[in-house]
């Protein structure tokens, strides 16, 4: 089966620092795939390379069979890749509904000037967009919150809004950057179910960066472990849990316990 996303030998340097080093990672359609690793391992940088925010220095990334490295971010989004951010980056001074409407941008096709005379096509498209946005709001559990300013929403709601905004464009691939950061166990469990739902109900392939091992081991089918920009392990949850290189990377040399029962989120955000 053709890979949905194929990143091969991707290298990204910032001056002397090699943030991502010869990384190869491939996803199948419909997978939930996690990228884990200590802070500073290069995971978010890798996301940024996929979405075109950074240009890679070496390697190639193919999405749905076509190379996307070198394309600008907006085109990559329009091809079907969406993302959320480690530090939530909503449009704070816009309402929840407006945020989602912006997310729908790639799907709206009416010529901009038609808004001036409110053509039939414009009106229909806007109505449909609003309906869909409200549907998405409900889907993430924020029904009725449409008129709330994004910056006034509680943290958990903001996270979910960001996801709603990301899926508004009907992406094929969704990159989630630490979706459960800052959440308590209850919220984390809910978010985990929610992410699984995204794949089950909407058929979206998920690539997520996570620190919380309950989440990672709970829903991922494949995991890549990164450290210092390189892949140090790859496999399914069972394989990863017992992998000594992984344990060492997280807990330092000499640590013997498995990763199943605690999450290494003690370090500050990297």
């Amino acid at each position: 089966m053709d890979k949905l996303l194929s990143a091969r030998n991707v290298t990204k340097r910032f001056g002397g620092l090699v943030a991502v080093n010869d990384l190869t990672l491939e996803l199948d359609q419909g997978q939930i795939y996690a990228v884990i690793g200590p802070n500073g391992a290069g995971k978010t940088t890798f996301f940024n390379v996929i979405t075109g925010f950074y240009k890679l220095d070496e390697g190639i990334i193919e999405f749905d069979g076509r190379p996307i490295n070198g394309l600008s971010t907006d085109i990559i989004t329009r091809l079907g890749i969406s993302r959320t951010y480690q530090n939530i980056r909503l449009f704070s001074n816009m309402t929840a509904l407006e945020n989602i409407l912006v997310g729908q941008h790639p799907r709206l096709k009416t010529f901009w000037a038609e808004a001036v005379w409110k053509s039939k096509r414009f009106q229909e498209e806007e109505a449909e967009a609003h309906e869909e946005a409200n549907r998405l709001l409900s889907f993430v559990g924020l029904r009725g919150q449409g008129d709330t300013l994004a910056r006034n929403m509680p943290y958990g709601a903001q996270r979910r809004l960001e996801i709603a905004r990301a899926i508004a464009s009907n992406p094929k691939l969704l990159l989630l950057d630490e979706p459960t950061a800052g959440m308590n166990p209850n919220e984390t469990a809910e978010m985990t179910d929610f992410i699984r739902n995204l794949r089950d109900e909407l058929g979206i392939t998920i690539l997520l960066i996570e620190h919380d091992m309950r989440v990672v081991m709970g829903i991922s089918e494949q995991i890549t472990v990164m450290d210092f920009g390189q892949k140090i392990a790859e496999g399914n949850p069972n394989e990863i849990q017992g992998n000594p290189a992984v344990i060492e990377a997280y807990l330092g040399r000499g640590a013997a316990s498995g990763l199943g029962d605690h999450s290494p989120e003690s370090e500050s955000a990297g």
Binding site: D74, T77, L108, A115, F122, T148, N152, P154
Partner: protein, 564 residues
Amino acid sequence: MQEKTFNWRNAANYGLIGSVVMLYFSMIGMVEVFSTRDLIGDFLNMGHLLLFGGAIGVMLFAAKRISDHGGDFWLSTLIIGAVSPLLPILLVIMSLNFNMRPIFINVSPPLNELITLGLEPTAVGLVAFFFVTLILVALTAAFTRLPGRIRTPLTTTIVYMLSIGIFSELIIQVLNNPLIFRGFRLAGLFFTGKSLDLIPAVVLFVGFFGLFYWRGGREPKAAVEPKTRPHLDPRRRWIQLGLIVIGLAVAPWILGLFLSQALFEVGRFVLMGLGLNIVVGYAGLLDLGYVAFFAFGAYVMGVMTTETTLNMGGGVVNFWLALPIAVGISVVFGVLLGFPVLRLRGDYLAIVTLGFGEIIRLLALSDWLAPLVGGAQGILKIPNPVFFGIDFNSPQLMYYLMVIGALIVGFVSIRLRDSRLGRQWMAMREDEDVAEAMGINLVQTKLLAFAIGAGFSGLAGAIFAARLGTIFPHSFSLLISINALALIIVGGLGSIPGVIVGAIALVGLPELLREFTEYRLLMYGILLIVMMLIRPEGFLPAEVFQRELHAGEDQPEFSGAVAD
């Protein structure tokens, strides 16, 4: 953030600042010039307001500080009230003993008379001045202590009374207009000359206060559902819209020739403001060279409709044909000027666009392009438009043209704002990188903002040229760009009513207060600074910001359950 309480030293400082302000306005001659405008009878004039304004303003700031940080309120009041009058008093004393006029030309007997409140001998006047200042400061202090129930209507009343004072000329014109009031010279009831008579003033004051006090009591203070937004109720909107249209239509006939010219200027800046509002307010692109597109519109109109310039190709063209071409060329240049600045942000964008504006002005001024655009002499004898035989040769008719232009432009702005493009602009303004990650093509979005903004400006320029009949490079200076930018900020960024308010405040008022043209730039600057200090979002901020301002109320707390 200092938590020090507001002690006597702070109070003395504030008093000193107040005193310096009073001194400053006196010494630059502003107080004297302002005093030529009487407000009530012949004993209260604008000069008094300005003079005592320093002390009053400082007291207001101090009261806020005290309420935030604690301190002995009345002692501070006393100190401020006592220190403020000192410097002006000192000034008077010094001017009596030394001839200060060779250096400080405005320190003169009329000024002294003002400060001493017209009383003789001087010493008595100075003592009176001292106590009047002290009392006014105390009254201000007491005012800040009033319960909101009284203070709010009182503030509104004062604002209304001041507005009547400032707009007296306008009001007199309206009241005296034979068309409405059938020959009753109503103005005479209230005004003598340009100032209100004392008794009508008192009556109005009491009446306004009573009205606002009563209305303040009526609104239910309980939390109203935030979902229903009454100002969007369609029927009310149509009525409001209708009234505005009627008002606009009859204004020039009621207000007379001179004020129609003022209205024209306001209209022109409303048009420009709306265009700049799209670039700066919606798209967040700081453009300081906006006058360039205004110039394009004006010059294209000038070149195409006159014989004195080398208009390429055809002969003289009439206004109505030249108009869309002028707009079109402005749009083209909007795109051209937009391309090089696509990657620039913030300050860099501002400086480069400022440069463009100046380049255009200098090109217009140059000898090289003089055969085409007239160089320093500009273009003369631009004909007025003719519409079905009616020659638009009066300010009133050209005003209509500008208003119609503004209405069209406003309409387009609103439609675009509430569309996908509007959201593109908003998203780009909020966070350019994330906007791009939403699939928004930044190049297209920015160029559209520049192009549309330029088109609106070009339209204003073309109409301006036809009205003025002559255009010089001088009319296209940086100051115009700054003016336009200032008025959309003061009026409220991103908000269309805000643009109108800003234009009235920054363009209309100076026209009404033309006695004070000498100090126009100073007042301008002060207004900008004060606005940034107390209300940076502008008079009428866009709904986004208004929602933000009311954020504390009525937002249902959300617990975080996913299931719904």
